[in-house]
C-alpha cells in the first residue's frame, strides 16, 4: 500500500527545482511522443509553448482565454482552502450568466452607464444562489457538497438550454436556439490601443482580474475572515476550539466562489459572445479546479496557472493550424504536463511510504 506522509519542512530549493524538473520531464516525454508519432518535435514544442507569445495580439489572447479561469479559480481557492469541495463552478457560471443575460434581454431599454455593472452584480447573485443550494444542504443536513454541486451543473446546463430554446429564443433565429443579441450597454468592449487598434479580443473585463488578485490576496492573508478560512481547512478541530463558526464559513466561501463563477460568466459572455446560447461555458468551471490547485491555492499562483493552461490550449490550436497535429495528441501532452506539475507539487509536500498490505 502507498501512504502519503506530510513532510515536516518543505525544502526551499525544491520549490524551485520541482516545477523546473516537472517541465523538463514534460518536455522530455513530449519530445519522445512527438518524435514517435512523426512530428518535428522541436517545432511542436515551439508551437505549444512559445508560439502563443510570438505576437502581441496572441499574448492578449492568452489573457482573454485565462480570464474566466482565473476568476473562477480564485473563488474556488477560498472553498478549497476551507476544505469545502465545490466542484460545480461550471453550473454557477451558467446560472450567473443566464440571470444577468435574462436581465439584459428583458430590460434592454434601461438607460444607464452602469448597465454592465448591474449585470455583474446580478451574475454574482445568480452564481451565489446556485452555490447556496449545496451550502445549505451541507450545513443543515450534512449532504456531501461534492455530489450536490456537481449534479447541479447538469441541471444548470439543461436549464439554460430550455431558456434559449423557449422563452428567450430570438424569433428571427429560424428555430435555432439563440437569444437576441445583447443590447449595447450589456456588451463589454474591446480595448482600443492608440496606433494599433484592437489586440485580438482583449477587452475591459480583464481589468476585473487586476482588481481581483490583490483584493483576494489581502483577503486570505491579511484579514481575520481569511485567517478563519485557512484554519478551518488546515485544522478543523483548532477552528472549533477557537470558536469559529464552521457553518458560516462554509456558506460564505461557497457563496463567494459561486458568485465569482457567475461574474466570470457575465464577463466572458458579454465580452466574447454577446448573446445567450445553449453553451456559454466550455468547461471553464472544471478547468478552474485544476488552475486553483496548479496555482497552489494562492492568488498570484492562480494568475500564473491560468496563463499556463491558456498558453498550452492556444499553443495546441496553433500546432494544429501550422502542423496539422490533431487535438488528441496535444491533449495527451497537456495531460502529461499537468501530471508532472501536480505530482511534483505533491512530492514536495509529502513523502511516499510503501508498505505491504497486512
Amino acid at each position: 500500500m502507498i501512504t502519503f506522509i506530510p513532510r515536516d519542512k518543505v525544502s526551499k530549493n525544491w520549490t524551485i527545482i520541482g516545477p523546473i524538473l516537472s517541465i523538463f520531464l514534460t518536455v522530455f516525454f513530449g519530445l519522445l511522443i512527438f518524435t514517435f508519432l512523426g512530428y518535428n518535435p522541436l517545432e511542436t514544442l515551439y508551437q505549444i509553448f512559445l508560439s502563443p507569445f510570438s505576437r502581441i495580439d496572441r499574448i492578449s489572447d492568452i489573457f482573454v482565454k485565462a480570464c474566466p479561469l482565473i476568476i473562477v479559480g480564485i473563488g474556488l481557492m477560498l472553498c478549497f482552502r476551507a476544505n469545502v469541495w465545490n466542484i460545480g463552478a461550471e453550473g454557477q457560471f451558467i446560472i450567473g450568466t443566464l440571470l444577468a443575460g435574462s436581465f439584459a434581454l428583458l430590460f434592454p431599454s434601461i438607460e444607464t452607464k452602469f448597465f454592465i455593472f448591474i449585470m455583474i452584480v446580478i451574475g454574482f447573485i445568480g452564481g451565489a444562489l446556485w452555490a447556496f443550494i449545496p451550502a445549505i444542504l451541507k450545513t443543515k443536513l450534512n449532504v456531501n457538497e461534492i455530489l450536490v454541486s456537481l449534479m447541479l451543473v447538469y441541471v444548470a446546463m439543461l436549464f439554460i438550454d430550455f431558456i434559449v430554446r423557449g422563452p428567450l429564443r430570438d424569433p428571427m433565429s429560424f428555430g435555432f436556439p439563440l437569444s437576441k443579441p445583447y443590447p449595447e450597454g450589456a456588451i463589454i468592449n474591446k480595448i482600443p490601443f492608440p496606433g494599433i487598434g484592437y489586440l485580438g479580443q482583449l477587452h475591459y473585463g480583464i481589468l476585473f482580474i487586476i482588481l481581483l488578485i490583490p483584493i483576494s490576496w489581502l483577503f486570505v492573508n491579511k484579514t481575520l475572515s481569511g485567517f478563519k478560512i485557512n484554519v478551518l481547512g488546515a485544522a478543523p478541530k483548532a477552528a472549533k476550539f477557537a470558536g469559529f463558526k464552521q457553518n458560516t464559513i462554509t456558506i460564505t466561501v461557497l457563496l463567494i466562489s459561486g458568485g465569482l463563477a457567475g461574474v466570470a460568466g457575465v464577463i466572458e459572455v458579454s465580452a466574447n459572445i454577446g448573446q445567450l446560447q445553449p453553451e456559454v461555458s466550455f468547461g471553464y468551471g472544471f478547468t478552474a479546479i485544476i488552475v486553483a490547485f496548479l496555482g497552489r491555492l494562492n492568488p498570484v499562483g492562480i494568475l500564473f496557472a491560468g496563463i499556463i493552461i491558456a498558453t498550452v490550449k492556444l499553443g495546441a490550436d496553433n500546432a494544429q493550424m501550422s502542423m496539422g497535429i490533431p487535438k488528441v495528441v496535444t491533449g495527451l501532452f497537456e495531460g502529461i504536463l499537468l501530471f508532472f506539475l501536480l505530482t511534483g507539487e505533491t512530492l514536495q509536500k509529502y513523502k511516499i511510504k510503501w508498505s505491504k498490505v497486512t
Binding site: N13, I16, I17, I20, L42, E43, Y46, L50, S54, D57, R58, D61, V64, K65, D161, R165, G166, R169, F174, G175, F176, P177, G200, Q201, E268, N272, I273, G274, Q275, Q277, E279, V280, F282, L314, D317, N318, Q320, M321, S322, G324, P326, K327, V328
Partner: protein
C-alpha cells in the same frame, strides 16, 4: 541554483528565437491558403468526417496549388472567434467554418478582415465577405421515408432527432411525406437526443425505439451508434452524413452522404479566378448555396439489405427528386393535428421550410418548446 535557472531560461529564449526565425521564413511559393474549422474530429464518422472528405477532395483536386490548415474540436464560442481570426491572420484567403454555431464568430472576424473570404456552413446570416452553404438534407430523408414505408413490418418508425430546430423538423416532415407516399398506416415516433454527437445517448435512444416496437430507425445525429444497435438487435436503419455500412453491414439500408467537396472546390476556383461572391439576393434564402441531390451535394449510397422491388422504388424516388418531378412539400399539406398548412396547388417555399415548428401527418406527438 539561480544560475542554473538563468541558464535554462536563456536556452529557452535562444531556441525560441531560432525557431521563430525558421518559421517566419519557411513558407515560400504561392499556393492559395485555405482554412477549415471543425466542430469535432473526423473520428466522429459523421458530420465532421464528411467535411474531412470534402477537404481531401480539395487537396486532391488542387495539389500544391492550395495549402490547407485545419483546426478541429473548436467549441462554438470565444474559441471559435480566436481560431478563425488566427486563421485569417496567418494569411488564409478563404476560410470554411463548418458548424452552425460559428455564425456570429465568423461574421465578427469577417468584419476585421474584409479581404478574406468566409464560407459559413449551415448559417443564415451573410455579409460582404461571408457566404453561406448548406445541403438539402431533407431530400435524402424523403427517400428514407419511401424505403422505410416499404420495409417496415410493425409500421413503427423510430426517429432520433438532435434538437427541435427547423432543419431537423423539416427532415422529419420530409421523411413523413416519403413514408406516407407508400404506406398510409406507418407512423414516426421521435426521440430528442438533445445532442448532435453522443454515441451513448444515441444508442440509448435506439434501444428505446426498438423496445417500443420500431423496426426501422432513422437519425438526425452524427454517430454510427444507432446503426450499431440496429445491427445487434436485428432492426434496419439509415446512415447519416457518411456511408456507415462498415459499422452495420446488415442493418444499413442506405446512407445520405453529405458531399461538400464539389462545393468547396467550386468556391476555391471562384476565389482563384476572382469570381467569388455571396450570391446574395433579395429573398433571404436565395443566394444561400443550398444544394441537394440535383447539385450532387447530397449523395445516396448503395441501396442494400432490401429486396430489388424496394430498391427500384427508392431509385424512382431519387430520380424523381433529381428531375424535380417529385415536389416533397406540395399541397395539400395538413399537420398532425389536422390543421391545414397549405392548400392543394401550392407548395411550401424555402422560407416556409425554415419556419417549420409543426409535424406533418404521419408523425406522432408534437414539437417540443
Amino acid at each position: 541554483m539561480l544560475k542554473f535557472c538563468m541558464r535554462i531560461f536563456s536556452l529557452f529564449a535562444l531556441s525560441a528565437s531560432v525557431l521563430f526565425f525558421i518559421f517566419n521564413s519557411a513558407f515560400a511559393g504561392n499556393p492559395t491558403k485555405v482554412g477549415f474549422v471543425y466542430l469535432t474530429t473526423p473520428g466522429d464518422h459523421g458530420w465532421t468526417y464528411a467535411h474531412e472528405l470534402g477537404k481531401q477532395m480539395v487537396e486532391k483536386r488542387f495539389g500544391s496549388d492550395v495549402k490547407v490548415s485545419v483546426v478541429e474540436n473548436v467549441p462554438e464560442g470565444p474559441d471559435a472567434t480566436r481560431v478563425i481570426r488566427e486563421l485569417a491572420k496567418q494569411g488564409n484567403e478563404i476560410i470554411f467554418t463548418t458548424s452552425f454555431g460559428y455564425m456570429e464568430p465568423t461574421l465578427k472576424v469577417a468584419k476585421e478582415f474584409p479581404n478574406v473570404k468566409f464560407e459559413h456552413i449551415t448559417g443564415y446570416k451573410r455579409s460582404k465577405n461571408v457566404a453561406t452553404g448548406n445541403i438539402r438534407f431533407y431530400e435524402g430523408r424523403y427517400i428514407q421515408g419511401v424505403v422505410a414505408g416499404l420495409m417496415t413490418k410493425t409500421n413503427k418508425i423510430g426517429y432520433i432527432g438532435a434538437y427541435p430546430i427547423a432543419e431537423v423538423i423539416m427532415g422529419i416532415n420530409s421523411f413523413a411525406q416519403g413514408l406516407r407516399s407508400v404506406n398510409k398506416d406507418a407512423s414516426i415516433s421521435v426521440i430528442w437526443a438533445n445532442t448532435w454527437y453522443d454515441p451513448v445517448k444515441e444508442a440509448d435512444a435506439a434501444k428505446v425505439h426498438i423496445a417500443e416496437g420500431a423496426d426501422i430507425l432513422a437519425q438526425h445525429t452524427d454517430s454510427p451508434a444507432m446503426l450499431q444497435i440496429a445491427e445487434k438487435k436485428g432492426a434496419l436503419g439509415f446512415g447519416q452524413s457518411t456511408d456507415m455500412s462498415a459499422f452495420a453491414p446488415k442493418a444499413q439500408l442506405f446512407a445520405s452522404i453529405n458531399n461538400w467537396g464539389p462545393y468547396y472546390i467550386r468556391k476555391i476556383e471562384e476565389l482563384k479566378s476572382g469570381k467569388w461572391n455571396t450570391g446574395d439576393g433579395p429573398d433571404h434564402w436565395a443566394g444561400n448555396d443550398w444544394g441537394g441531390l440535383k447539385a450532387e451535394m447530397l449523395l445516396i449510397s448503395k441501396f442494400q439489405n432490401m429486396p430489388d422491388s424496394v430498391a427500384k422504388k427508392a431509385q424512382e424516388a431519387l430520380n424523381g427528386l433529381k428531375s424535380g418531378k417529385i415536389n416533397i412539400f406540395a399541397g395539400p399539406l395538413v399537420d398532425n393535428t389536422g390543421k391545414e398548412i397549405i392548400p392543394a396547388g401550392k407548395s411550401l417555399d424555402d422560407g416556409a421550410l425554415w419556419g417549420m415548428n409543426y409535424y406533418l401527418k404521419g408523425v406522432n406527438g408534437k414539437v417540443p418548446g
